[in-house]
């Protein structure tokens, strides 16, 4: 009983901050939009059905999933050496190094993207250097396309991957690696046969977190995609704020939420079976 009472504040916050807005969104998704754009009260799955039948919705889903998976995997792969370095660093340095690894989170994502624009732009730093050393005549297209979005999204996801991996790897028992070394394993073998398998749950958790963040990423695809990158989040924005089709925007958001829920449930199931 006391436990339930103690949970009440968190449950209330969750209810007001998440469940209620999502319920409202679900309700709006059942409305209809007239030919001239007005929203009509209804209890219909018509909007949802239209989206499901539209090939472009599936293209968006594919774009979103592949972008998040690619950037998530690269972010985790890049974060792993950072987390290993921090783990092996003297204890007095770990706090500072951890802070440095997640420092990008202290800067607004929009500000970071503006920085990327200055670096990757057609007349940005990289192209200026390439032109100066005479490697290229025309600028290399590093932004306003999928390349730019992949670079920006990977960078924005990396600190989260670092955060999870630093916490996960910190709990590994270093005596197991020492035992492997004592038994003659090389450093590579120790890493591949001992450290990596032990780190697998942390790697999976990091990937899951950055994948989910990647799926819902909006600012990076919007600002670095140059209107050429279509993912679910940018489409929801366009539907809500350009064409003012709230039922379609809400329906797409519900589809995204449902898909993510399904992915999480599947992941839980797989983990359960694996155990």
């Amino acid at each position: 009983m006391i436990g339930l009472l103690l949970c009440l504040p968190a449950a209330l916050i969750l209810g007001l901050g998440f469940v209620w807005p999502v319920a409202l969104l679900a309700r709006i998704s059942l409305n209809r939009t007239t030919d001239m754009g007005a929203m009509e009260e209804a209890f219909s799955l018509e909007t949802m059905a239209k989206l499901v039948e539209d090939d472009f919705t599936w293209e968006l889903a594919w774009n979103t999933a592949t972008l998040s998976a690619t950037c998530g995997a690269i972010a985790v792969a890049l974060a792993l050496p950072v987390a290993l370095l921090i783990r092996s660093a003297p204890p007095q340095w770990r706090g500072l190094l951890s802070l440095m690894a997640v420092a990008p989170l202290l800067v607004s994502s929009t500000a970071r993207i503006v920085g990327w624009m200055a670096i990757l732009g057609d007349r940005g730093m990289i192209n200026a250097v390439l032109a100066w050393i005479g490697v290229v005549d025309d600028p290399v297209r590093l932004i306003n396309n999928w390349t730019g979005v992949r670079i920006g999204l990977t960078e924005s996801l990396m600190p989260y991957a670092c955060l999870v991996l630093i916490a996960g790897l910190g709990r590994l028992d270093s005596r197991l690696e020492e035992a492997a070394a004592t038994l003659g394993a090389t450093r590579t073998k120790t890493f591949l046969r001992v450290t990596l398998p032990l780190a697998a749950p942390a790697l999976a958790a990091a990937f899951l977190l950055v994948f989910v963040l990647g799926v819902s990423a909006f600012v990076t695809p919007r600002l670095m995609g140059g209107g050429r990158v279509f993912v679910v989040a940018t489409e929801i924005f366009d539907l809500a704020l350009e064409t003012v089709d709230w039922p379609a925007a809400a329906a797409m958001a519900m589809l995204l939420l449902g898909s993510l829920g399904l992915a999480m449930a599947l992941r839980g199931l797989v983990a359960k079976v694996a155990r």
């Binding site: 001239m36 057609d122 007349r123 995609g225 140059g226 209107g227 050429r228 709230w246």
Partner: protein, 346 residues
């Protein structure tokens, strides 16, 4: 006695603008330079004359303003809203704003035909803006006069265009359709030209906007709205050039509406009457170069020359019906994505 009678008649003819004094009214409209200039040229004189305080609520885009109206449907906190005609039509259809006519707002009789018609049953047009081509005067010489200048291979990779569903993208498409096929609805006439320019476009989503990209030396050409473009031209000491191209342009129309169940309806009507009056229209046009909708506004020739209502430009305005555009929009959007953006190959 006679003087008093004239005064009473004048007061009656002026409608609620002078009849109502005091109190307060909340206006929702665009932020930034629109707010600054509208406050100085229209709202401050209104407050001085009527004693009504105006609270300016920065609404963001028209779509965001519609969102606010929808959220406040049961308890409106906004009294007057200035928003784009297509979004205003949605608000009108949803009953979020009042139906209004010349009997309620006599100043409507002074407006031109298009201004009266564009609001439908609800509020009339309060400003005309139009799509222009903006360019970097340092990099593009001689000064271009046609949209076709953007197709010059010399500017490859230095062009920023907005793609639909952004209304600048829709407007640009309609202009190309009109120029190449005679009718703005004829999308097939525009597509070859759009596919042709696609590989030369640096971005289809200029951020923060085309004017800034030109000033930052990222692009040489972009599309823009005349009023802001004219201000940026002045602020940049002529670095940004503004052209109403020979192929034509289309109006972007803002309407003024009274929010349904407004808590300060009398003041709201008074503000709308003032905003539509010849004096306010003249003042705002001369400050910000939006075309006046009040046919009696005596705008200076210099300011009028920087709007699409200048005699030499009037014939270039393509009669685009934004209500019909809303119906066509989805199809255009899809074809842009499949045929134009996919052809940009960046």
């Amino acid at each position: 006695m006679r003087i008093l009678a004239y005064a009473a008649a004048a007061l009656f003819a002026a409608g609620p603008a002078l009849a109502q004094t005091g109190g307060r009214v909340t206006l929702q409209a665009y932020a930034g330079i629109f707010k600054d200039n509208y406050t100085q040229t229209v709202l401050a004189p209104f407050t001085a004359r009527s004693g009504t305080a105006v609270q300016y609520h920065e609404g963001g885009t028209s779509a965001q303003m519609l969102g606010t109206l929808r959220a406040q449907r049961a308890d409106p906190q906004i009294d007057v809203v200035i928003m784009d005609v297509t979004t205003a039509a949605i608000a009108c259809a949803e009953g979020l704003v009042e139906r209004i006519d010349a009997a309620t707002l006599p100043v409507i009789a002074e407006l031109d035909d298009q201004a009266r018609a564009s609001g439908g049953a609800c509020g009339p047009a309060v400003t005309y803006d139009h799509l222009v081509m903006v360019y970097d005067t340092r990099a593009v010489t001689p000064a271009p006069t046609r949209w076709a200048a953007m197709w010059d291979p010399a500017h490859r990779g230095r062009i920023a265009l907005s793609a639909p569903p952004n209304i600048q993208g829709l407007a640009m498409t309609a202009i190309l359709a009109h120029a190449n096929g005679g009718s703005w609805q004829n999308l097939n006439a525009a597509m070859p030209r759009l596919r042709e320019i696609a590989p030369a476009v640096q971005t289809f989503d200029p951020n923060p906007d085309g004017y800034t990209l030109i000033l930052n030396d990222q692009v040489r050409f972009a599309t823009g709205w005349n009023a802001r473009a004219q201000l940026y031209r002045d602020q940049s000491q002529g670095r940004i050039g503004v052209v109403l191209p020979e192929e034509g342009t289309v109006f972007q129309i803002n309407t003024i509406n009274i929010v349904a169940n407004s808590k300060n309806r009398a003041q709201a009507l008074a503000l709308a009457a003032h905003a539509l009056s010849a004096d306010a229209q003249k003042a705002f046009t001369e400050r910000m170069f939006y075309g006046p909708t009040n046919a009696r506004a005596q705008v200076s020739p210099e300011a009028m020359a920087r709007t699409a209502l200048a005699p030499e430009f009037r014939s270039r305005v393509i009669p685009l019906d934004w209500t019909e555009m809303v119906r066509l929009r989805d199809g255009w959007n899809q074809r842009w994505r499949r045929e134009v953006i996919s052809a940009s190959g960046r």
